[in-house]
Amino acid sequence: MSINGQAYIVGAYEHPTRKAPDKSLAQLHAEVAFGALADAGLSKDDIDGYFCGGDAPGTGPLSLVEYMNLKVRHADSTNVGGSSYILHVNHAAQAIAAGKCNIALITLAGRPRSESQQKGAPQRVDNPVQPDFPWEQPFGMTTLNAYAMCAMRHMHQFGTTPEQLAWVKVAASHHAQHNPNAMLRDVVTVEDVANSPVIADPLRRLDCCVISDGGGAVIVTRPEIARSLKRPLVKVRGAAEAIKHLAGGDVDLTYSGGARSGALAFEEAKLTPADIKYVSVYDSFTITVIIQLEDLGFCKKGEGGRFVADGNLISGVGKLPFNTDGGGLCNNHPNHRGGMTKIIEAVRQLRGEAHPAVQVANCDLAMAHGTGGLLGTRHGSASLILERE
């Protein structure tokens, strides 16, 4: 069974807050949920499916379904880190196609800034029972150096340069200047990135995403309901996921699970990377973007550095506009999870509702892709291809 054409995204909402000391986590989830409902022109009681990730407080979906007083007959709390929400659209489309629910709500929220996780290298909060724990945590592994080792290897193997990494940040900053909610709105140059302090070789401060509070939600439904609503039609053309890991010691840090999930999503959509007018791609770090763009087939493996250079990701300038909201590098990264905002900006682009300065002309096909967990150890990749109908 294919989900191509079986589901539509009819509601999308990004919380404008970037620091929410006076709001509870559940409250943020409810605010983004109700924002997405208003966007779709639906009411709370229309929801019969609910999807959440590891940011949801409580046991899976239970506490939030109660908090929002929903009545659902289908739920899914698959947690693969920051890409969970892209995966959830895939799962929601499958559930809808199978008749298990009609209107699915997916939420993300978090308040790491208000919880004082403001330093750039939060210790991973892994569980000592995890089988990998004693083989990684004692060596001072953090999110930063796990991604940095991917960058170091990529540079060694393919000749990728710090300047090429910096171009990813430069492009994001060009977009963020037009987003009044973005945390970092100043346009930066390759030199600015090069002059920022090294955090974990070879990554510098400006190679890293922001830490922010906030969240977002999307609503997925079946074609008949989508057509009865007043919003532009954003159809799910293809979606896929893949988990990549250290494979018993057979380690290759130069690629991600996106190599598999991307190919499967394109196959389902009956499209190729050349068809895509806009891409939202998880930008936890600059290197994350380069590796994923290669894996998704926008360029060959190893050529990502050259591909992103010279403004090629800047809307109106380059060939592949990306993260026109400013992405995680400049806009926000609620709960250290960037997947939801990747979907939302893709929906804005397809609806023609992105900021006019970054709106891609005739944007009829877009992709949202994410990596959750750690690129340098184990992660869940999720790919989603959307079409404006």
Binding site: F139, G140, H156, P197, D201, L246, A247, G248
Partner: protein
């Protein structure tokens, strides 16, 4: 370095590794069925699922697959993936070495080091 104090779960599946390390021996798991060595050690071979796995004393020699130096840490430290002579690649630290001399591809050798909290860890130094 953010070493966790005495919290490493030494459950029976991997206790022989830690016991040997205390005695200065670096063991890895290999499979009698398919022959391959793997990392991290498991009861079942992750390649062929066989339960016929055995502890093997490793040479302690390898090369750096990748690394990063945490510049903001006090003092800075090097995390790395080292590819062992026996095949598997493992996460570790490069210690007792000039951090600026660390490069991908350089040979390293095992440096078993007791941490202030008492844990003994399989680290490496430039050969």
């Amino acid at each position: 370095m953010s070493i966790l104090s005495n919290t490493l779960p030494h459950h029976p599946e991997v206790q022989p590794f830690w016991s040997a390390l205390e005695e200065g021996r670096f063991l890895i798991k290999g499979c009698r069925s398919c022959g391959r060595a793997h990392w991290y050690p498991r009861a079942h071979c992750p390649f062929c699922t066989s339960a016929d796995t055995e502890w093997r004393e490793a040479s302690g020699r390898g090369t750096i697959y990748s690394y990063s130096i945490m510049r903001q840490a006090k003092p800075p430290y090097a995390i790395a993936y080292v590819t062992l002579e026996e095949g598997p690649t493992m996460m570790t630290n490069i210690v007792d070495s000039d951090l600026e001399a660390i490069r991908i591809g350089k040979p390293v050798e095992i440096a078993i080091r007791r941490q202030p909290d008492g844990d003994v860890l399989p680290m490496f130094k430039l050969a």
